[in-house]
């Protein structure tokens, strides 16, 4: 068996070890004797929707977003939407997730168009890379930074978030999950977005290595898109689960320490109980 993975802007959108997500998919397929053809789709490269079973785009800061936004909008946008409509899996992280929404408003008011895969938009409240932010502390104060725990159906996803501003959901958007600890989309208790087999999220770390269930969801989607069905062999995930549990513990510890207003405000009662119980 073989799946085709389109990796968008590997040289630009990979600020937070994002290639780890691609590596995770590739290795988990190899361990199951599924080969993965990775096509790197850079600036100027068009997307052939029928050829892709899985699309991945990583995170990046404002400079990177500005660089790719026109290309994403004009050259790749329609292809991405069509591939997802044909059943392809997709994972968009951080800045990549933001640009798959309707638009992304930068701190000085400039607006980057999005590809409208998700009915979400992102607003930067204030300085991220602005002139008036003279020190690192000024910049940090405006960002949601820390462990993020999300309830995704019957499962939990863990990761690290580091983003400025907020991502807001439109009427047709479906959130990926509910925030149990951390900030998520904008502090409203939701995190990420999901449409068919396409997932957008602020979870970094990178997120797939310690959320093997999400990795397998994407691999399953890719196989189903190509072969009509997926039957994934279970893998020995002891190390992955240990890393997952360790992240849960860090999130739990963070709820007991002062760790920024954003975090405390975002922690729901249910979430607190859940995280404390360590489930």
């Amino acid at each position: 068996m073989k799946i085709c993975l389109g990796y968008l802007y590997p040289d630009v959108m990979a600020t937070y070890g994002d290639r780890g997500n691609v590596e995770t998919v590739v290795r988990r397929c190899e361990w199951r004797d599924i080969s993965v053809a990775v096509t790197e789709l850079r600036l100027g490269d068009a997307i052939v929707p029928e050829a892709l079973d899985l699309i991945m785009i990583g995170g990046g800061g404002e400079a990177q977003q500005r660089l790719i936004a026109p290309d994403l909008y004009k050259v790749k946008g329609a292809g991405i939407r069509e591939a997802v409509d044909l059943g392809a899996g997709a994972l968009a992280v951080g800045g990549g997730y933001e640009l798959l929404g309707r638009f992304c408003q930068l701190e000085r008011g400039a607006e980057l168009p999005g590809v409208e895969l998700f009915d979400v938009w992102t607003m930067r409240h204030s300085a991220v890379l602005g002139d008036h932010s003279g020190t690192i502390s000024d910049v940090r104060a405006d960002r949601a930074i820390g462990e993020l725990v999300v309830r995704w159906g019957a499962r939990l996803l863990v990761g690290f978030e580091n983003h400025g501003g907020g991502t807001y959901l439109g009427p047709t958007a479906q959130p990926l999950g509910q925030v149990l600890s951390g900030h998520g989309n904008n502090g409203d208790g939701t995190e990420g977005a999901i449409r068919a087999n396409a997932v957008g999220t602020h979870l970094r770390g990178p997120c797939l290595p310690k959320n093997p269930a999400l990795a397998d969801f994407l691999i399953g989607a890719a196989l189903t898109r190509r072969y009509g069905a997926a039957d994934l062999l279970p893998l020995g995930d002891d190390l992955e689960q240990a890393a997952h549990q360790a992240a849960m513990q860090r999130a739990r510890a963070a709820t007991h320490t002062t760790h920024g207003k954003l975090r405390r405000a975002a922690l729901t009662k249910a979430g607190l109980a859940h995280v404390r119980a360590g489930r």
Binding site: P10, D11, V12, A14, T15, Y16, G17, D18, R19, G20, E23, T24, R27, L43, G58, G61, A63, Q64, L67, L129, G134, T135, I136, V139, R140, I145, G146, E147, F160, N162, R204, G205, P206, P209, K210, L239, E240, A242, A243, Q245, A246, R250, A253, A254, T257, H259
Partner: protein, 449 residues
């Protein structure tokens, strides 16, 4: 800390004291290598008859510099008269804007490189570069800029300024590779944002670069290494050509990154018009605390190597394992809750090309679980019968375990981020294997450096 006290009493203390230094101040900054470059340069300065006033390695923010100056001043509150005194300060790249508000007329600024480092603290390289450039706008015309020609971000730093620029870089293409490392902070063209192509890459994004779009290319360095021999895990030979001299340096530190540090030190010495004969003082450099520091433990040579970001980790491992002979290595990874919680950079470390070279790896630190997963996906667990991985978060227990698994007389390398390494070193000190207190361990903020 005296520096903090002095600054509280008199916020201008640092500025006033530095202004009194007869030969001015040289500031060394960048993501990696600034501490080692400073120690090399201070050896050269001493040999040339100067008396460098230096800050402690890692104490590289404003209070650390103020501490160094206050420690040097007399009871009068002024520096003792010494015509040979020169300031030589390692400066945290994020603190450079603040330092340049205090040290307004530095003699020279030396830049090593800009890597992605502590994303949660410095955000992106582009932001670090922007902060540096904005701060440099107020520099007087005479301040010389000593720049790494092989790092596109550094080579083109503040290119609008008319200050004298002296470039250093590698000319010998033998130790290079064909393409940039597959890490993600490869810069775009500093002028047109186009894609850069390389004819030779030494590590990460350092090499012979050129923009396909606008033709901007690596400037020809005045101080260059015409021959580089990496001599395995403990030293390197370097032939260095300057406009006036040619020297062969035997550096008792391994790896290409230390060759770059030596070039930066020579270029800065050249800029300070120190005699060529003093350059060989670089050969007397000893490893700094935790920079491949050697400690003898129960018949084993133990090397402590700090690796604090993806490029550092990659280059330290390449320096240790570059001869492709399997070795014993304890690998550590820790975060710093609330301050530096992000360890995603381990996915940009080139573990994949070193598969099978670490026998029975032991991983430790409060992020050991993440490191173990990383090694699994890099293929380290499939590398044969010796690939058993042990995960022991406690650094001291992990060290004891790793040492017990090392054959008598064989060396053990400990490669890790700072907290783990500090704990191992603390334990070695309590056991009497190391005498010296690691100065960086006073005050937790030091761990960040």
């Amino acid at each position: 800390m005296p520096g903090q006290v002095a600054l509280t009493i008199d916020p201008a203390a640092l500025a006033d004291l530095v202004a009194e230094i007869p030969r001015g101040a040289v500031l060394v900054t960048g993501s990696n290598g600034k501490g080692t470059t400073c120690r090399m340069l201070s050896q050269v300065m001493r040999t040339a008859g100067l008396h460098p006033i230096v800050n402690q390695e890692g104490s590289n923010q404003r209070s650390g510099l103020a501490t160094a100056m206050v420690a040097h001043s007399a009871a009068t509150g002024h520096l003792p008269a010494d015509r040979q005194a020169i300031g030589l300060f390692e400066v945290d790249e994020g603190s450079m804007p603040e330092i340049l508000r205090h040290i307004r007329r530095p003699k020279a600024l030396v830049f090593t490189n800009i890597f992605r480092d502590q994303l949660d603290r410095y955000l992106e390289p582009a932001y670090t570069k922007m902060l540096l450039e904005r701060a440099m706008q107020t520099l007087p015309e005479g301040t010389a800029l000593v720049l790494n020609a092989d790092d596109p971000r550094i080579a083109c730093l503040a290119s609008g300024l008319t200050n004298p620029r002296i470039y250093y870089g590698m000319d010998d293409t033998d130790p290079g590779r064909d393409s940039a490392d597959p890490t993600s902070d490869c810069p775009r063209c500093p002028r047109c944002d186009g894609e850069l192509s390389y004819t030779c890459v030494y590590y990460a994004h350092l090499g012979h670069w050129r923009c396909e779009g606008c033709g901007l290319a690596r400037p020809q360095p005045q101080v260059r290494a015409t021959k580089v021999d990496l001599m395995g895990p403990s030293s390197a030979h370097l032939q260095v050509v300057t406009p006036t001299a040619e020297s062969v340096l035997e550096i008792p530190l391994p790896g290409l990154y230390n060759a770059y540090n030596a070039l930066a030190a020579v270029a800065a010495a050249e800029e300070c018009e120190l005699p060529d004969s003093s350059f060989s003082a670089i050969e007397r450099i000893t490893a700094g605390s935790l920079r491949m520091e050697k400690v003898e433990v129960a018949g084993h040579d133990v090397y402590l190597a700090l690796a604090k970001n993806s490029n550092g980790y990659t280059e330290v491992l390449r320096a240790v394992l570059g001869d492709r002979k399997p070795k014993r290595v304890l690998l550590g990874l820790n975060d710093f809750p609330g301050k530096q919680p992000d360890t995603s950079w381990i996915w940009d470390v080139d573990f994949a090309s070193l598969t099978g070279l670490v026998t029975a790896p032991v991983v430790c630190g409060n992020r050991a679980a993440d490191l173990a997963v990383r090694l699994k996906y890099a293929g380290w667990l499939e590398a044969g019968p010796d690939a058993d991985l042990v995960v022991e978060p406690d650094p001291v227990r992990a060290f004891q375990l790793a040492l017990a698994r090392t054959s008598p007389g064989q060396p053990l390398w400990v490669v890790s981020t700072s907290v783990v390494l500090g704990q191992v070193r603390d334990w070695l000190r309590h056991q009497g294997y190391v005498k010296e207190v690691w100065r960086e361990q006073r005050g937790s903020a030091r761990w960040l450096a």
